[in-house]
Symmetry: C2
Subunit: 210 residues, 2 copies
DNA sequence: AGATCAATTTTGACAGTGTCAAGATTGACA
DNA sequence: TGTCAATCTTGACACTGTCAAAATTGATCT
């Protein structure tokens, strides 16, 4: 009894994309663990094993979801990145710089908090722990990783961060902080949503050394 | 066919503890996802449903494993904590202080890298995401969380960290960094084991402002 | 046009999982 | 010695991922 889809043909048409979007919704509602290929197939209105002709594995489906997440995230990042570049032309005091870093962190954490399950999927062990991640996913993910490095270099060039420090290490520490706080927030450990702003202020001041 | 246990009596004797230790081993080998109550029961040499008389749930078993992990971790922390307190009496230059912080971070990351699956269980979403964590687990975990805060305060008192900063926020940022880097390392994202030392140096210098 | 073929979808099946209910076995205590 | 609660077992159910073989389709070729 197909409910969600009103397909008249035997072939679905665009099952692959439908599966991805439906799975993304499902993850948002029931979490990564709550997703099952059978329930997903039922939701799309197709038999249990139909997805296997578009994804080798359950893991491949999860990778595809994360991959789309990375593409969306990157476009958002690049948009914000250029906006921020403009802003800096005008004000160049250290206070404004600290604020800039703080807003970058806030933006990152807001994304994590608004899409906790997607964040977990994109940056979590589910797809990264082993060599599960396929080439396509890596190609989508690495630009997102590199963006952090590029931003760090720009900030160093502006004098916002220590120009003499190793850019990659600096980037790893800053992203590590963001990632860690994000995870603590999402899982509700030791931190609270109400403290996010103060945490970002604290971190931004530490990193900008004033 | 019971292999691991050579019990002659119908009652097992200390099944609960045996389950915990066997499960801890199993996690170390096959990861959190690789554990199953049935395989675990077989390993201990008991029927599939026997564990249910000692743990309400699979989650309760996982919580018990994590709980034991927290107790062990705390005793290790307190030991190191007192050791470090002695050290500081002698040297008080900022360079030595930075080194002290760096070693603290290295110690944290070493624990995470040597027990990746246990770390994931203790500080991961599996047991924290919902209100799954029972009172007993919280009682074991909170001292470990608070330790970070106490250490931060001590460091502030010594002038190693900014004394005017909010201790809780500072602690959250530092632990966030440690947690984030640990996760990135464990999952093999953006970081490499060979870079750990440099990452810790970079972070320690940032936090100590010199 | 009709035939062919690969892509797609289905049904059937299997092993594995967590967990509940009901019965069997035991040790401790009256 | 008999009773009882704690402990363990067997049986059963719904659910999962995934394979193999059959059914259906749209496109491509003659």
């Amino acid at each position: 009894m197909p409910e969600e889809s009103n397909r008249s043909t035997y072939h679905h048409g665009d099952l692959r994309q439908n599966l991805i979007t439906a799975a993304t919704d499902m993850i948002k509602e029931s979490g990564i663990e709550g997703i099952s290929l059978r329930k997903l197939a039922a939701k799309v209105g197709v038999s249990r094993t139909a997805p296997y002709h578009h994804f080798k594995d359950k893991n491949e489906l999860l990778c595809a979801i994360a991959e789309q997440g990375f593409r969306d995230r990157l476009s958002h990042l690049e948009q914000r990145y250029s906006k921020q570049a403009e802003q800096t032309e005008q004000t160049n005091q250290t206070k404004a710089s600290t604020l800039q870093l703080k807003h970058y962190m806030l933006d990152y954490l807001k994304f994590a908090q608004m899409n906790p399950e997607l964040y977990e999927l994109m940056f979590g062990r589910t797809i990264w722990k082993q060599q599960i991640a396929n080439e396509s996913l890596k190609n989508a993910a690495y630009p997102s990783f590199n963006h952090q490095l590029e931003v760090t270099k720009q900030w160093q060039a502006k004098g916002l961060l220590d120009p003499h420090a190793n850019s990659l290490r600096l980037s790893q520490v800053i992203w590590g902080t963001l990632h860690g706080v994000a995870k603590l927030l999402i899982d509700g450990i030791y931190t609270d949503t109400a403290q996010v702003e103060e945490i970002c202020s604290c971190a931004a001041e530490l990193f900008t050394k004033q």
